[in-house]
Symmetry: C2
Subunit: 104 residues, 2 copies
C-alpha cells in the first residue's frame, strides 16, 4: 500500500473510530439503545432509563449532537431526541443482532 492509500485509509479509519469512540461509553451506548428502541425520548426519560444524572446525560447528548448522531425537536419545555444518522441506525441494529441475539 502506498503513501496516498495509507493516508486515505487512516483518514477513513479516523472518522469511523471517532463514531465508535462515542459508542464506546456505557452511558452513551445505553442512550442510543434506548433511542433505537423507543424511537424518541426526552432527556429526563433517558436519564432515568440509564440511571444517570440530568447533567451527565445532557453532556452525553451534547457529544452525540456534535457528531450529528442524534437530533431533537422541542415540544414546550421538553426536548424529544432521536437517532438522526441512518448509518448509526444500521450499526445499532448490527450490534443488537451480534451481541443481543438472546434478548427479545
Amino acid at each position: 500500500m502506498d503513501t496516498a492509500d495509507l493516508q486515505a485509509f487512516a483518514a477513513r479509519a479516523g472518522e469511523v473510530a471517532d463514531i465508535l469512540k462515542l459508542l464506546g461509553n456505557r452511558a452513551r451506548l445505553m442512550i442510543l439503545c434506548k433511542l433505537a428502541e423507543l424511537g424518541t425520548a426526552s432527556v429526563g426519560d433517558l436519564a432515568e432509563a440509564i440511571g444517570l444524572s440530568q447533567s451527565a446525560t445532557s453532556q452525553h447528548l451534547a457529544k452525540l449532537r456534535a457528531e450529528d448522531i442524534v437530533s431533537f425537536r422541542r415540544d414546550g419545555q421538553t426536548l424529544w431526541y432521536e437517532v438522526a444518522d441512518p448509518r448509526l441506525g444500521r450499526l445499532l441494529d448490527s450490534l443488537h443482532a451480534i451481541y443481543c441475539e438472546d434478548i427479545t
Copy 2:
C-alpha cells in the same frame, strides 16, 4: 423498566461498550481492518501498514489480546496475529458494509 432490568441492561451495555472502546481508536481500528482483510499479519506488517511505531503497535495488540479479540501463533521469531472473536469478525463486516460501501 425495573431495577433488575436496568442492571442487566447496564451490564450488557458495559460489556459491549468495552469492546467498542477498543475499536474507537484509529490505530486499533486500522489493525483490526488489516487483520480482517489479510486474515493474518505479523506485528511488523501491522506497524508498517498503519504507520505506527513497533512499541505502540504492540501495546495496542496487547489490549486487543486482553479482551480475546485477537490471538496469535508463533513461527520462529515472528508472531502471526488474527481476529479471534467471531462476533468481532461480524462487527467488522458490518462496519465495512456501512462505512466503506464505496471501497472495493
